[in-house]
C-alpha cells in the first residue's frame, strides 16, 4: 500500500539553524523527514484489532510541528520511528471489530491507551481519563502516544492502518466523510472547553482562529455559559467563521490587548525595552489556540489575577512572570478523554450548521501530492482554508 512515512526525527537545533523563517520549504524540500513509500499494510495480531481503510485523514498543527522540528524534544520517547502520521481519521472497517461489522464507517479516537495495548487499565484509564494514560510506551504495540505516532499501528496518511475497538466510534448516517473527519478535532475542542472550566458569564479570550481556535470557540459557546468570547483572528474569513461559531467579538492580533483592556476596564502597563505590555485586570479565561510565543504571551498578559490560561495545542516557551505574580492557573489540555464522552458530544456538534459549512471547505489531496498538501496546510489561514486532508482514494 501507499503511505507517507516519517522516517527520521529532525533535531530542533539543527533545523533551527538552517531553517530561519522558511519552514514550508524545509517541510517539503529535500531535507524533509517525510517520504512516500510502499509498505505492507500494518496488522496488529491481538484481540480487538482490525484493519481500517482510510477515507480521509486530516493534517493537524501537531503534525506540522513534528515535521518541521518545532516540537519539543520532550515528545521524542513517545513515538516509534518510522511511523505513518495522521490521527484525524475517518475510514471503513475491513474486518469485523467487536460489535462493529466489517464495512462500518468509523472515526478514530487516536489515543492508544491500556485497552489497546492489552494491559490492565492504569489508574488514569480506570477513571476514564484515557488521555492521561501512563502506559503509552509499553504493551502489545510499540511506543506511541497516539495512532499517527506509532510504528505498529500505522496512521491515517496511508491507504490502510490498524485500529483497536476502544478507539472507534461509528459515524451516524447522514454525515459526510468531511464532517466525520472533523469529529476528532472537535472532540479535542470539547475536552478543551471542559478543561477551561468556564463559570457562567465569564469573559473568555480565544487566541487564534485556525481549526483549533474555531472549534474551541464553538465548543465553549455550545457547552458552557461563557459571557463574551473574544477571538483573535488574522484573516477575514476566520473572522466570519469565528462569529458564526459563537464569538462575541473578533479582533486582530495587534488590537487584542487594547480591546481586552477596554472591555474589562483593566489598566495597561508597558515595561521598558522590548517586553510586551500587559494588563492588570483582564479576561477570566484565556485560551492559546496557536502555540506561538506571541499568542501564549498575549493569553498570560490578558488574564485577570486568579484567572485561567488554557494551553490548547502544543505550547511555545513564554515568560511566566504573569502566571506567578497574577496567580494564574495554567491548564494543559491534550486530546480528549473517553470517560467524559467527548467523542459522543463531538458527534453531535459536527451536525451544527457552521460545521456543515466548514466541512464543505475541507481541502483533500491525494497522497502523492503531499508536498503541496503540507504547504497548503502550513499557510491554511492565509489561504482561507481551515482543514487540509489526505484522501488516499484519490489518484489526483
Amino acid at each position: 500500500m501507499l503511505a507517507l512515512e516519517m522516517y527520521r526525527s529532525v533535531a530542533k537545533t539543527a533545523l533551527g539553524k538552517v531553517a530561519g523563517g522558511r519552514m514550508p520549504l524545509l517541510l517539503t524540500g529535500a531535507a524533509a523527514p517525510l517520504r512516500m513509500v510502499t509498505l505492507d499494510p500494518p496488522k496488529v495480531e491481538h484481540d480487538g484489532w482490525a484493519r481500517l481503510k482510510v477515507s480521509l485523514s486530516g493534517i493537524c498543527g501537531s503534525d506540522l510541528g513534528m515535521l518541521s522540528g518545532k516540537t519539543s524534544l520532550y515528545f521524542q520517547p513517545l513515538v516509534s520511528l518510522p511511523f505513518v502520521p495522521g490521527h484525524e481519521i475517518v475510514g471503513e472497517l475491513l474486518d469485523p471489530c467487536g460489535d462493529l461489522d466489517a464495512g462500518t464507517r468509523v472515526v478514530v479516537d487516536p489515543v492508544l491507551t491500556c485497552a489497546a495495548r492489552g494491559l490492565e487499565a492504569c489508574e488514569a484509564c480506570a477513571r476514564g481519563e484515557t488521555n492521561r494514560c501512563s502506559r503509552i510506551t509499553v504493551g502489545d504495540i510499540s511506543a506511541g502516544l497516539q495512532t499517527g505516532f506509532c510504528h505498529d499501528t500505522g496512521g491515517g496518511w496511508s491507504q490502510q492502518l490498524s485500529v483497536h475497538r476502544s478507539q472507534l466510534h461509528a459515524v451516524p448516517d447522514g454525515y459526510s466523510d468531511e464532517q466525520a473527519l472533523l469529529v476528532e478535532p472537535v472532540a479535542c475542542a470539547v475536552h478543551t472547553a471542559r478543561r477551561a472550566a468556564v463559570e457562567p458569564g465569564d469573559r473568555v479570550l480565544v487566541s487564534g482562529a485556525g481549526a483549533v481556535g474555531l472549534l474551541a470557540t464553538l465548543a465553549l459557546r455550545e457547552l458552557t455559559d461563557a459571557g463574551e468570547i473574544v477571538v483573535v483572528a488574522k484573516h477575514a474569513h476566520q473572522r466570519e467563521l469565528a462569529l458564526e461559531f459563537g464569538a462575541t467579538e473578533v479582533v486582530a492580533p495587534s488590537e487584542t490587548l487594547r480591546r481586552i483592556r477596554r472591555a474589562t476596564s483593566a489598566f495597561m502597563l508597558e515595561p521598558e525595552m522590548m517586553a510586551s505590555p500587559y494588563l492588570l485586570g483582564g479576561v477570566d479565561v484565556a485560551l492559546d489556540a496557536v502555540g506561538s510565543k506571541e499568542s501564549l504571551q498575549t493569553c498570560l498578559h490578558a488574564t485577570r489575577a486568579g484567572g485561567r490560561v488554557v494551553l490548547s495545542g502544543m505550547p511555545a516557551t513564554a515568560d511566566l512572570s504573569a502566571a506567578w505574580f497574577r496567580e494564574l492557573e495554567v491548564v494543559g489540555t491534550y486530546a480528549s478523554s473517553r470517560g467524559s464522552g467527548d467523542f459522543a458530544t463531538a458527534l453531535d456538534l459536527v451536525g451544527h450548521d457552521g460545521m456543515c459549512r466548514l466541512a464543505k471547505t475541507v481541502a483533500p489531496y491525494p497522497l502523492h501530492r503531499w508536498r503541496e498538501a503540507l504547504d497548503h496546510a502550513q499557510s491554511a489561514g492565509r489561504l482561507g482554508t481551515v482543514k487540509v486532508a489526505f484522501d488516499p482514494r484519490r489518484t489526483n
Partner: protein, 526 residues
C-alpha cells in the same frame, strides 16, 4: 471690513496653488474657473502691547477697573487658555503671560496674597512644565508652580469640583471648585477663531465631563450653525446658559485678546503670500522647502513643523464683563478673518495642515485630521456653508500620521473599535461614549499623564456631524485608503481623480471653491 482681491478665479495665467497636506504641501493646478478664497492680510497690531493690556485692565467694559475689584484677604483665581491656542504656538513671550504678570502686579499692590493660577484645559491633556512655562513665562512659573499654585485644571478630581446647579434646560453646571469659590475669577483668553471665548472660557474650560456632555454631543453639534457665530450655535447657547448661571455665583473678569494672521514665521512666511505675488526668491524658497521635505524622514519633518513658532501680533485686548467683552472680540476676529463669498459651490477643497488644536507637540492622527477639515474648516462660515447641501468636500491629508499613545490613548480604541462598528455620530454616542468617558485607565492617564480625556475622540467626531449631515461625499486626496474607508470616506491620489469620483454626486463640471487655509479665514457666504 473686507478688502477686495481675496477671492480669485483661476484662469490660464494662474500659477499652481499651494495646498497644505499634513507635514508638507503640494502645488496644485486647479481647473479653470475654480474660486480661490484667500485669508485676509493682517490687521494693524497694537503699537505697545503692555500699554494696551494696562489700558484694558484700567478701563474695562461694563465693570469697575480690575484694581478696584481687588481687596486684601480675598481669594483670587486666574485661569487661562491652554496650549490648544494659538496655533502654532506663539514666539515667547506669550500674550497670556504678559497679561497674567500685570494682573499679579495689581494684586500685589492691593495686598492680595491668596492667588492660584489654573490652566483651563477642560478635557484636553495636561500640559508639561515646559509648555506651561512657555505660556505664563519663566517668572510666573517659578513663583507659583513649585508651591502648587499654578496647575492644570483636573476635570476628574471629584473633590475639587463644585456643582453650581442646573440651567433652566436641565444642564449641570459643574466647574473647578477653587474658581467657583473665589471672590474674583480672572480669565485670560486668546481668541484665534470666533468660536472661542465668551462663556465658553469658564463654562467649558474649567468644567467637568458631567457638565460638558450637555452640549458636546452629536445632536447639539449638528444643530450648531455656525460654530463661528455664537448666536446661531446650539453649543454656544448651552454654554451661554451655563455661563450666566456661573456669573450669579462668582464674579468673572474676562480678558480677551485677538491676533493677526502671521501664523508662519521665517523661513515659512512665503507660505502666507499669494502665489501670483511670489517673487523668484519666494518660488525658490518654496521649491527648496518641497525638496527638503521630500527627502526628510517623517520624524524630521515632524520636528521641522512642530518646532515652528509664529510671529503673531496683538490686534486688540479687551477686559470686563464676559458678554460685552466677547462682542468686541468677535467683531475683531470677524474683521481679521471674514471674506465675502458670493454663493455656495458644488465642491469645496481644503488643505489640512500638520497642526490642529489637539495635536500640539503630538501627531495629527486620522481622526484629528478629519476634525480639522470637517470640523474647523468646514464650519468656518457665516450664514451658510461654502459648499451647497449634498455637495462634495475634497480634503488633502495623508491620514497616516499614526496615533500617539501618550497623548491620544483613547483615540486608538475609538478608531479600531468604535469606527469599525459605525461612523454615524448619532449612533456612536449612546452606544460607546459613557464607557470611554468613565474608563478608569483613561481617567488615570488624563489625570496623571499627558493624555486627552477618554471621551475626547467622540467630541472630534461629533464636531464633524454637521459636515457629514450636509455633504454628499468626502474625498481625501493623498489619503491612506484604509484610514479613509475606516472613517467612511473615500480617497484619491490626485485632484483630477477626486473630481472624477465626485462627478457622480455633483456632475462633470461642478463649481469649485478652494479655501486656502491656513491662516484661518471665515467665509461669509451670501
Amino acid at each position: 471690513m473686507t478688502r477686495p482681491g481675496f477671492v480669485l478665479e483661476v484662469d490660464d495665467r494662474t500659477p499652481p496653488l499651494l495646498v497644505h497636506e499634513g507635514l508638507g504641501f503640494r502645488l496644485e493646478e486647479f481647473p479653470q474657473g475654480t474660486r480661490v478664497v484667500y485669508p485676509p492680510e493682517s490687521l494693524p497690531t497694537v503699537p505697545d502691547v503692555d500699554e494696551a493690556i494696562r489700558e484694558a485692565l484700567d478701563n474695562p467694559v461694563d465693570s469697575e477697573p480690575l484694581r478696584e475689584l481687588m481687596f486684601p484677604g480675598m481669594r483670587l483665581t486666574i485661569a487661562f487658555d491652554d496650549l490648544s491656542l494659538p496655533l502654532p504656538t506663539m514666539k515667547a513671550p506669550d500674550i497670556r503671560g504678559r497679561i497674567i504678570e500685570q494682573v499679579l502686579t495689581i494684586a500685589a499692590e492691593k495686598g492680595v496674597d491668596d492667588v492660584e493660577i489654573i490652566a483651563a484645559l477642560a478635557l484636553h491633556r495636561r500640559m508639561t512644565d515646559a509648555e506651561m512655562k512657555h505660556i505664563v513665562g519663566e517668572r510666573v512659573f517659578r513663583s507659583f508652580a513649585p508651591q502648587g499654585l499654578l496647575y492644570n485644571h483636573d476635570a476628574e478630581d471629584r473633590s475639587n469640583l463644585e456643582h453650581m446647579g442646573m440651567t433652566d434646560k436641565g444642564e449641570d453646571v459643574e466647574i473647578n471648585k477653587r474658581a467657583a469659590t473665589s471672590d474674583l475669577l480672572v480669565y485670560v483668553n486668546v481668541n484665534l477663531v470666533a468660536m472661542d471665548g465668551g462663556h465658553k472660557s469658564v463654562g467649558i474650560g474649567l468644567a467637568s465631563y458631567k457638565s460638558i456632555k450637555h452640549h458636546h454631543n452629536a445632536k447639539t453639534m449638528v444643530h450648531s450653525r455656525s460654530f463661528m457665530d455664537h448666536k446661531h450655535s446650539e453649543m454656544h447657547s448651552s454654554a451661554w446658559r451655563m455661563g450666566r448661571l456661573i456669573g450669579e455665583h462668582v464674579k468673572v473678569f474676562q480678558i480677551e485678546t485677538t491676533l493677526d494672521n502671521e501664523v508662519f514665521g521665517k523661513p515659512y512666511d512665503t507660505l502666507l503670500k499669494r502665489e501670483w505675488e511670489w517673487s523668484l526668491r519666494d518660488q525658490a524658497t518654496v521649491l527648496g522647502l518641497r525638496r527638503g521635505l521630500a527627502v526628510a524622514p517623517q520624524k524630521m519633518r515632524h520636528k521641522m513643523f512642530h518646532d515652528l513658532r509664529s510671529n503673531y501680533g496683538l490686534t486688540g485686548v479687551t477686559a470686563g464683563a464676559v458678554e460685552p467683552v466677547h462682542e468686541l472680540t468677535v467683531q475683531r476676529v470677524h474683521q481679521q478673518q471674514r471674506v465675502k463669498v458670493e454663493g455656495q459651490s458644488d465642491v469645496m477643497v481644503m488643505g489640512v495642515p500638520y497642526l490642529g488644536p489637539y495635536n500640539v507637540n503630538s501627531t495629527m492622527n486620522p481622526i484629528l485630521a478629519a476634525c480639522m477639515g470637517l470640523g474647523y474648516y468646514f464650519n468656518s462660515y457665516l450664514r451658510q456653508p461654502v459648499v451647497r447641501e449634498g455637495g462634495v468636500a475634497i480634503l488633502y491629508h495623508p491620514l497616516d500620521e499614526g496615533f500617539n499613545t501618550l497623548t491620544h490613548p483613547s483615540y486608538v480604541d475609538f478608531y479600531e473599535e468604535v469606527l469599525a462598528d459605525t461612523t454615524d455620530p448619532a449612533l456612536i454616542g449612546p452606544k460607546f461614549e459613557e464607557q470611554f468617558a468613565t474608563d478608569p485607565w483613561y481617567v488615570h492617564l488624563y489625570r496623571t499623564s499627558n493624555a486627552y480625556h477618554g471621551v475626547h475622540p467622540f467630541y472630534m467626531w461629533y464636531w464633524i456631524a454637521h459636515a457629514l449631515d450636509h455633504l454628499g461625499d468626502v474625498i481625501w486626496v493623498g489619503g491612506n485608503p484604509k484610514a479613509a474607508a475606516r472613517m467612511g470616506f473615500r480617497s484619491a491620489s490626485s485632484l483630477r481623480d477626486a473630481l472624477e469620483m465626485a462627478s457622480s454626486t455633483v456632475g462633470p463640471s461642478p463649481s469649485i471653491t478652494y479655501l486656502r487655509n491656513p491662516p484661518h479665514l471665515l467665509a461669509d457666504v451670501r
